[in-house]
């Protein structure tokens, strides 16, 4: 009897102590409603912004773009140097360790680049992460030499926040599929805890990680919940089911602003929105293209439909993006009379038929915005019609070069080089099919120029030609609206990446 009582007393005491300890060490958890989905355990098996961001957090990131500095900064790759125009040397931090305690080394980086990103047939990231990389080799345990097939000054824009570095040892030991699914090793401040494709992904903080030590208030667990419907994200956010809601449509923000515990954080997106025009009749004439640009009242659309949640673009890019030139000329201001004159000069004094194609539901209010453009175009002398094909159809046709006039966005434009090449350099892609030898020369030069000042000059000159010659009318960058619970201190990034380590949960 005495023994039993003593046992119960001890048990109660232990429970109290444990209970107390648990209270002190309460785990902080943040749930985020996101619009994209992670569908595969293979970190290289998809090429979407959210996946790059999450896996970069799990495995590094290799390096990152600082919007505050307007430049790239080191993480796993502490620093780098350009040995010659086709050779880069990356120096790795010695502090990054995989979940099993082994150090992240140059062999892991080489393995990830050459065997996973480039060599693995399941990879869908070669073109986005390593388009010009032909070789990567370990010079020593913490130094990697990367060779490109042509000078690639914007190489960092491909590698930073995108290169996912996974463990070579785990791959060799378990094989690809088991290593990804059951033994996901990363050197980043968070580790993958659970992935249910189509539903959620859970990350858990590694308290021993150097970045985690620097950010003690970063959440212990982060749950990414897939919520594609805006109504669903807003309702879940209002109910505190999620504490961060990605991409709140402007017309829903007032419901959130009414709640004193919630706030809206707008951030300029790095996705540039534009109207692309293929140089085929009637857009083969520069005057017609310029007429389109003068016909669209961007300020009015931004002030009304977008409720001010967009920044007008007076060139391909805006503030915070690499190579932005505030003095870029010319500016395509709203001037319907000028549009009419330009159309008359082009031989279309009696108007011309055009069909504008737009995706529906892919970009903020895409259909509504383009609907508003139709009367503007008509008032300037066009006879415009709006077509709304399904996204997969439109995108395939754009990539084949069979859509003469379309509304489109280009995301992840921290450094505009890749986007400008992709859409405007002769022969790169048929998306617009534009060709201008002077522009090609400048774009080639900027890609081979490692002197930052000179490269910015080349970019500025190229963007000036583009604005004047108008193969595209650059419209705006949306302000992305994030819903944030007041318990969370976080500054959302202009791209779709989410780094939980940058969050602080208020105690």
């Amino acid at each position: 009897m005495i023994t039993t009582r003593r046992f119960l007393t001890t048990l109660t005491a232990v429970t109290c102590i444990l209970g107390g300890t648990l209270t002190v060490q309460a785990q902080s958890r943040v749930s985020i409603g996101v619009t994209e989905t992670i569908e595969t355990h293979n970190p290289y098996g998809d090429s979407v912004s959210l996946q790059y961001g999450i896996y970069s957090e799990v495995t590094g990131p290799f390096c990152t773009y600082s919007y505050a500095k307007g430049d790239f900064e080191g993480r796993l790759a502490e620093r780098w140097k350009v040995e010659n125009p086709t050779t880069w040397i990356f120096f790795l931090s010695k502090n990054y360790k995989f979940n099993d305690g082994t150090t992240v080394t140059a062999d892991d980086v080489v393995h990830s680049l050459m065997n996973r990103v480039i060599g693995d047939p399941q990879s869908k990231q070669k073109a986005s992460v390593a388009p010009s990389i032909v070789k990567a080799e370990a010079l020593d345990k913490f130094t990697v030499k990367v060779t490109t097939d042509k000078p690639t000054a914007p190489l960092l824009s491909f590698l930073c926040d995108r290169l996912i570095v996974t463990s070579k040892a785990a791959f060799d030991k378990y094989g690809r599929d088991a290593a990804d699914r059951e033994h996901m090793m990363g050197g980043g401040p968070y580790q993958l805890k659970e992935l249910i494709p189509g539903q959620r992904l859970v990350l858990q903080k590694r308290p021993d990680h150097p970045d985690a030590k620097k950010h003690p208030n970063a959440p212990d667990e982060v749950i990414y919940r897939i919520m594609r419907e805006p109504e669903q994200r807003v309702t879940a956010f209002l109910n505190d089911e999620i504490q961060i809601a990605q991409f709140i449509p402007p017309h829903m923000r007032q419901r959130i602003e009414k709640n004193p515990k919630l706030r809206i954080a707008p951030v300029d997106s790095v996705e540039i929105m534009f109207l692309a025009m293929q140089p085929k009749p009637p857009f083969d004439k520069k005057e017609v293209r310029q007429a389109v640009c003068h016909a669209i009242n961007r300020d009015q659309i931004i002030a009304t439909l977008l409720e001010g949640f967009a920044s007008r673009l007076d060139g391909p890019i805006g503030p915070g993006q690499y190579g932005y030139d505030p003095n870029l000329k010319p500016k395509m201001n709203y001037d319907p009379e000028q549009s009419k004159k330009l159309l008359a000069q082009a031989g279309y004094a009696n108007g011309v038929d055009v069909e504008l194609q737009t995706p529906v539901g892919r970009y903020t209010l895409d259909k509504q915005l383009t609907e508003a453009m139709i009367p503007m175009l008509n008032a300037a002398g066009f006879r415009a019609r709006l077509l709304t094909p399904e996204w997969a159809t439109l995108w395939a046709n754009v990539q084949k070069g069979t859509v003469p006039f379309y509304y489109m966005g280009r995301g992840s434009v921290q450094d505009p080089s890749a986007a400008l090449h992709q859409y405007f350099h002769t022969g790169e892609t048929p998306r617009i099919g534009y060709s201008n030898p002077k522009l090609d020369e400048l774009l080639d030069k900027e890609q081979q120029e490692f002197d930052t000042k000179k490269r910015r000059q080349y970019l500025s000159q190229a963007m000036s030609i583009l604005t004047d010659d108008a193969p595209a009318c650059f419209l705006w960058r949306h302000k992305l609206l994030w819903g944030l619970n007041s318990r969370i201190d976080y500054k959302p990034l202009p791209d779709a990446r989410i780094y939980a380590i940058d969050m602080a949960v208020k105690k």
Binding site: E39, Q199, T235
Partner: protein
Amino acid sequence: MTSYLFQRLAGTLPVLLLISFLVFSLIHAAPGDPTLLLLGEETNAAEIAKAKERWGLDQPLYVQYLKFVRAAAAGDFGKSFKYAEPVINVIKTRLPATIELAVFAIIIASLLAIPLGVWAGAKPNSWIDNLGTTFGLFGISMPSFWLAIMLILLLAGVLNLLPTSGRSTYGIAGPEQTGFYLFDSIMQKNWSAVWDGLTHIFLPALALGMNMLGILMRVTRSSILEVMNEDYIQTARAKGLREKNVVWRHVTSNALIPVITVVGLELGTLLSGSIIVETVFAWPGSGSLLITALNARDYPLVTGIVMTYTLAFVAINLIIDGLYAVVDPRIRY
């Protein structure tokens, strides 16, 4: 019975072949190219060519189809472009969620529709008949995507009673065994996970089952009305049975045959309806998987899912035929 079963199974083969041909042709005829959709914004011609070769898209369409049919006959729908895994494995991981949802939708629809239909049929033109008919009309008329949003707004938003989406709350469930979340939780006696699962499944199941509810209610009502006028019902009444017993024992059991047929047919509709509902509620089933596969033009996965649905539909119809014999002893095969 055995010969009947063989006959029916033999009859399904041309159906499956025709469906496979139609799906294969339609998905390939649809504009859009999986290589352009899956390889990312910055892809180039060389990468596209490699992917086409890897996925067999560089071969003539009839060769691709014949290869597909040969493999499918052995139960292999090929490898998903997006997931880089055998299609059958991808479907296996997502199908239990859809089945669980469909079963709950049927349960909700049947529990509400059959009693309502019986009451309405037993007392035609009464207030309960009017109420039931209006409710049935409401169920049939409401598009599931609209109803889903309204349910989220009301029950999750305004009343804050239920979660907005997903299948479970993170950290509650035990290890997955069968893929059926509720079944696994019951087997593990994890009652908090069972409750969590029920709260998550209620809204999507209601949104999915509402249309079926309306149809079932109306079919039950008209079937009851029909049986109520049969001679044997008059006989039962003449024997002095209480009206309650007449309705529930004699009328309802005889009126159930068309109801069972409708349940079977509607099960197929539920599978297709789940495509929208799963997307709205972020339900990780085969319906939302089909949307992902369609958006990516993942030909093998789209074909695999549609073939699975077709097989399910055929199997359900066979089961329903079998159930007739159980409900009505006069029916023998």
